[in-house]
């Protein structure tokens, strides 16, 4: 029986296999940021250990960094202490770091791919659950906890329990105006926030093949919101074209050898997945969340569900609670939900294509009265590219705030937060209670929906703009 992509990558990294023990896997790339690493470095120091492979390790500052006044010292003393701790640790242990102000700084999951450090067939880990993003390249990439960060720093390996495989096949073509974000929100609503637990998901099918690398990253990024260990897409010409010429991509004869290897990674025709989900792309439409977990979503054309109609008692209670927290009423049309904030950014949708998409929709229009819009590029490189294309001007002319790179309002660890009761349409990945600020209410949306929502002031898709005559 043939093997799947995930099984091939796993097998190629087994350092040690022993009966009754988890496999010991080698890690090709370890990404660090300021939030989940301090206690790990502390552990090394206490045990007198060093970083085994500084040449496979890289750090960036993203979660706490401000997106305004970045040339001044960070105002929040605790954020500042955490970032300074990372800088001190990187210097002490000899780890490459991209600090605030550096041209390669940005969200860890945007930085790795854009440097060409994320490549097919690799194992990639980071103390961050959205590490799944890197699976878009056909890498096996998973989020780990701080103890595991310490383990990888010390040994460059991780003992890992085996996983199950799931195929999510999206057949056919996505309709006009429906993108990667809508697709993954629909997948999560279908399988549920726990549906992927224990699985590595491989996204397949024509609609996935047709996605750009950036769209593929959006899809894989949110695998964790379905509970999956990781999400992957087999590498193909789109992957190779994206990588070719990147700073850390192989060159010359190495490139040829690498491509030959990468081509052999695809799931074999007779491989069997433990679970299969098939979705018809033609049935998808712009998708938004109404609740407080990413599985509580629906097509934009529908309404807030009535909990009474939900059969599962646990789900019903969760829906009831979410609707109350979100300040909505059952049966309310999703399009009637007015927002006061629109956030464009994060490791889900803070890349250049996302910004282009948004700019294309809002160009020549004005932000709705009373709506605040924040556009936060995922990295400094993305920011520079946007400026070179004049996108920053489009955003500011529209009435949006154009900010410096970082995680920003995705999780509100820096000053970019929702006030209690405020409501956002956000291109990020989590709508948990208080995620974007205490008492804040989040609707997860695609960049296209974010843009149209900013114009109209209520949840909307670009097609609504011509209907509304704006």
């Amino acid at each position: 029986m043939g093997r799947t992509l995930a099984e091939k990558v796993w097998d190629a990294h087994v350092v040690r296999r022993a009966e009754g023990e988890p496999d010991l896997l080698y890690i090709d790339l370890h990404l660090l940021h300021e939030v989940t690493s301090p206690q790990a470095f502390d552990g090394l120091r206490q045990a007198g250990r060093r970083v085994r492979r500084t040449d496979l390790t890289i750090a960036t500052e993203d979660h706490n960094t401000p997106t305004l006044d970045v040339d001044k010292p960070i105002a929040d003393p605790v954020s500042r202490a955490q970032i300074e701790t990372l800088r001190k640790n990187a210097a002490e242990f000899g780890v490459r770091i991209h600090s605030l102000g550096d041209v390669e700084q940005g969200i860890v999951h945007v930085v790795g791919p854009q440097l060409g450090l994320t490549q097919p067939g690799m194992t990639v880990v980071c103390g961050d659950s959205h590490t799944a993003t890197h699976g878009a390249f056909g890498a096996l990439a998973f989020g780990i906890g701080t103890s595991q960060v310490e383990h990888v720093l010390a040994t460059q390996t991780l003992p890992m329990a085996p996983f199950k495989t799931m195929a999510v096949t999206v057949e056919g073509d996505l309709p006009e105006g429906v993108g990667a974000k809508d697709l993954i929100l629909a997948v999560i609503a279908r399988i549920g926030t726990g549906g992927g637990q224990g699985y590595v998901i491989e996204y397949r099918g024509q609609a996935i093949r047709n996605l750009s690398m950036e769209g593929r990253m959006t899809v894989c990024n949110m695998s964790i919101e379905a509970g999956a260990r990781a999400g992957m897409i087999a590498p193909d010409e789109t992957t190779f074209a994206y990588l070719n010429g990147r700073p850390h991509a192989p060159q010359g004869a190495d490139w040829d050898a690498a491509v030959a290897y990468w081509k052999g990674l695809a799931t074999e025709a007779d491989a069997v997945f433990d679970k299969e989900v098939v979705i018809d792309a033609a049935e998808l439409s712009p998708f938004v969340t109404w609740g407080t977990n990413p599985g509580q979503g629906a097509p934009l054309g529908e309404s807030v569900p009535d909990p009474v109609a939900i059969e599962d008692p646990v789900e019903r209670a969760a829906a009831r609670k979410a609707i109350a927290y979100m300040g909505l009423t059952a049966g309310q049309k999703l399009r009637d939900i007015a927002v006061d904030t629109v956030f464009v950014g994060s490791c889900t949708n803070g890349r250049i294509e996302d910004l282009r998409e948004v700019a294309g929709i809002i160009k020549g229009r004005k932000v709705a009265d009373g709506v605040r819009m924040l556009v936060v590029p995922g990295s400094v490189r993305v920011s520079l590219q946007a400026v070179s294309e004049g996108l920053d001007k489009v955003f500011t002319d529209f009435g949006a705030e154009w900010r410096y790179a970082g995680c920003s309002m995705c999780l509100g660890m820096n000053p970019d937060q929702l006030a209690p009761g405020e409501r956002s349409a956000s291109t990020s990945n989590r709508n948990f209670e208080g995620r974007q600020g205490k008492g804040g209410r989040t609707h997860l949306v695609s960049p296209q929906v974010a843009a149209a929502t900013a114009v109209l002031g209520h949840l909307a898709a670009p097609a609504d703009l011509s209907t509304a005559g704006v």
């Binding site: 790339l29 659950s129 906890g145 660890m413 995620r435």
Partner: protein, 198 residues
Amino acid sequence: MEAFTTHTGTAVPLRESNVDTDQIIPAHWLKKVTRDGFEDGLFEAWRKNPEFVLNQPERAGATVLVAGPDFGTGSSREHAVWALQNYGFKTVISARFADIFRGNSQKGGLLTVVLPQETVERLWALTEADPTAEITVDLVDRQVRAGELVADFEIDDYTRWRLLEGLDDIGLTLRHEEDITSFEATRPTWLPRTQPVG
């Protein structure tokens, strides 16, 4: 890491599903650079409500958390485990845990016990009716006992052994350092290195 063999204590019945790590420990607590002092951040938003189960005086000193399904979803923050431990919890029972949370808790010695939802419901009923009711989580026999209730649970042998012995994973791995070194010799040379280029 502290070894875990058998633990008996009173419980907090948490009738919530999908308790994500942002609820367990909100993001602003993540700025700390130590492993302790997270107890006040545990369920911080919910604790503002005087009715919240953790605020009930009879729950003081409870060490067993009995939660709804899909406990620990969301971010990979290990601070969620530390917050539970700092508060005094030794073990969490649920019908389903998020994978990363489960991994983190096993690393840190917080035992996560998976029981069917109907057993969880019985534990809720029991501990709601009598806050002094004790639950015993016996890792040696892989069994949970409370009142009349006896329920077996599964846990893989390796994790169980590590928890019983209180063994540190890094030390265990470093016993196989030679295997790591020989694996490294076989890695293709074109794999990327993070050293700055150009």
